[in-house]
Amino acid sequence: MNLLEVDGLTVGLERSPTSILANVAFSVPEGKIVGLVGESGSGKTMAALTMMGLLPDGIEVRSGSVRIDGRQLMDPDTMTVERRAGDMAMIFQHPQAALNPTMRVGRQIARVFSLQQGCGRDEATSLAIEMLSRVGIPGAERVARAYPHQLSGGMCQRVMIAMALACRPRILIADEPTTALDVTIQAQIFDLIRDLVEETGAGVLFITHDLAAVAEMCDTVTVLFGGQVMEEGSRDDIFRRPRNPYTTYLLDSVQKEVDPHVIEAGVDFELVGCRFGHRCRYAWEECGGVPDMFSVGAGHRSACFLHAMEENGAGAP
């Protein structure tokens, strides 16, 4: 049973036909880590902010549903996500910038406890200190009294995680949680997230452009490009048996030289059909339309017209 189910999510700029996310669907089962991968501008963070109901001004949800445990969070009238406390929490890319610079970190966590559980100031403070120890901060009492600028980036990310956990989320969204940190700290944060999944049974949506991180962390992977889901499947499906030309290209870009024109071409958000179309070496006239998701294996789906050809009996090019 999937804990989180996102379906048909379409998000665009107000007063403009441009859509940033087009019919995006993915799901996160309980206790699993699902990777949402794609290059910069592919809509990963937009998807997360939509789910959190934190979209910036000027961006609107056109359609789609976000369900937790089958409960619909999308308000059909306002087209915004109405979260309940404890549904979802999110950790961000720049931990230091994501913490209030004029508030002691212990207070920032305690504030969440007060809000979520209605407990008093002293109780909230001791809960906050407890939470700081739980995310592996030594000397939690001292750290609780520090301001964010007095802590390292890795410490701040732990504080951020403690803050997210204080919400007791069913789903934790981690938006490139280690991009701003160095490698050794990255490994520690990854361990922490894995431990927390085991302890709490929460589902994690792990957003990143770092394929190595995906290979290390994720159970299943959804590949996003230009706001469209290109392929989804288990980690092994994606890394060992990629079926979508974009996934292949993405994997190739890590290992070998790729055709520079593919990189420089960028994303055309005005494009109606497959957004990878003009960069894809297999593109043909059919690619002007939007490809359906084709099942290409157990739990493995890919959006490409090539699969339509295969189904019609023609050999792959």
């Binding site: 934190l54 406390a85 999110m90 720049h94 610079p101 004029t102 504030r111 969440v112 301001y147």
Partner: protein, 341 residues
């Protein structure tokens, strides 16, 4: 903190010395002859000589400078050639009038400007935001003398709600005993509430005149720094963990916008420290601005020098106070470090 204060004091001494030197020599190159003004149009050459002798104007300039500085360090800023009185004393009598007006004007500007700026930022691009921007443009393009005259015309002459522009109190009213020099506070300290009220009625029009104009920069800076903090990642975090909107607005938004706002308030308060000459003239306000204006008209060198030096001193004090406020509102700022607001 004490090392900081010590260092600040040292720097201040240098600053004041610089002010004294610059002001002294600028005054010497101003055209005009103060002695001739004091002696009157029909004075004889002997009379002029006598006045020059009396006020030390016949000495060579370096001698005048040394004399001036040795007196100044003891707090004696010389004698006004216009009134014949001690400059230090005359300035100290007038300074509270200017400071009281400046204080209430800035207070009004802050009380009006901050909520308007916050509301404009919180409700960006709504009618409220647009109205706030119109007020800000109106305020910054408003001339003191025009607004002062219009307010006097409407609220004194036409409606009679406020007293006329005759100074800090009615002509027949005895001012309160000087404790702080602020009439509103001194009268309250002796418990004379009628006098407090009267002082406020006389303050109202000049304070509103200045306050309205000064609220414009406050609205602008509050709005823009609030927009910046409300778009910040930590405000997004606060929203993500479910902090209610009002708390986000003030504890996460406004609290972090305070440093640039404090800078702005400090700048406009500093601007008001020397007294607002135009407003003091229109409302017959017996402050240092008017004193400086009168001194300038008749080439009263020592009075002008004294004025500039006192205002310089006030600026230095103000800056130290602002530094303390910075370190208090933002934990990232340590005393003695530069602030990039």
């Amino acid at each position: 903190m004490w090392t900081y204060l010590g260092r600040r004091l040292l720097v201040s001494v240098v600053t004041v010395a610089g002010i004294v030197v610059v002001v002294f020599f600028i005054m010497r190159v101003l055209p005009g002859d103060a002695a001739a003004v004091r002696a009157g149009p029909y004075a004889s050459e002997e009379k002029l000589e006598q006045i020059r002798e009396q006020f030390g104007l016949s000495d060579p300039v370096p001698v005048q400078f040394v004399n001036y500085v040795t007196d100044a360090v003891t707090g004696d800023l010389g004698t006004s050639i216009r009134t014949g009185g001690e400059v230090t004393e005359e300035l100290l009598i007038r300074l509270p009038a200017s400071l009281e007006l400046a204080f209430y004007a800035v207070l009004l500007a802050v009380l009006a400007g901050v909520p308007v700026g916050v509301a404009a930022a919180a409700r960006r691009d709504t009618w409220l935001d647009r109205a706030a921007r119109v007020v800000a443009v109106l305020g910054s393009s408003m001339a003191f003398f025009w607004l002062g005259l219009i307010l006097t015309f409407v609220f004194f002459f036409k409606l009679g709600w406020f007293p006329g522009p005759v100074g800090r109190l009615g002509i027949t009213t005895q001012p309160p005993e000087t404790i702080t020099g602020f009439f509103t506070i001194d009268a309250a300290l002796v418990g004379d509430w009628g006098l407090v009220w009267e002082a406020f009625t006389y303050l109202a029009l000049p304070a509103v005149t200045v306050g309205f104009v000064l609220s414009a920069p406050i609205i602008k800076i509050v709005r823009s720094s609030m927009i910046e903090t409300l778009d910040s990642e930590y405000v997004r975090t606060a929203r993500a963990v479910g902090v209610p909107g009002r708390q986000v607005l003030f504890r996460d938004g406004f609290r972090n916008a305070l440093v640039p706002v404090t800078t702005a308030i400090g700048i406009i308060f500093g601007y008001m420290l020397g007294g607002n000459i135009i407003v003091e003239l229109i409302f017959a306000w017996p402050g240092v601005g008017r004193y400086a204006y009168e001194a300038l008209r008749v080439n009263d060198l020592e009075a002008l020098q004294g004025f500039v030096i006192v205002v310089g001193l006030l600026y230095i004090v103000l800056n130290v106070v602002i530094d303390f406020v910075y370190s208090w509102i933002d934990p990232r700022i340590k005393l003695g470090q530069k602030v990039v607001a």
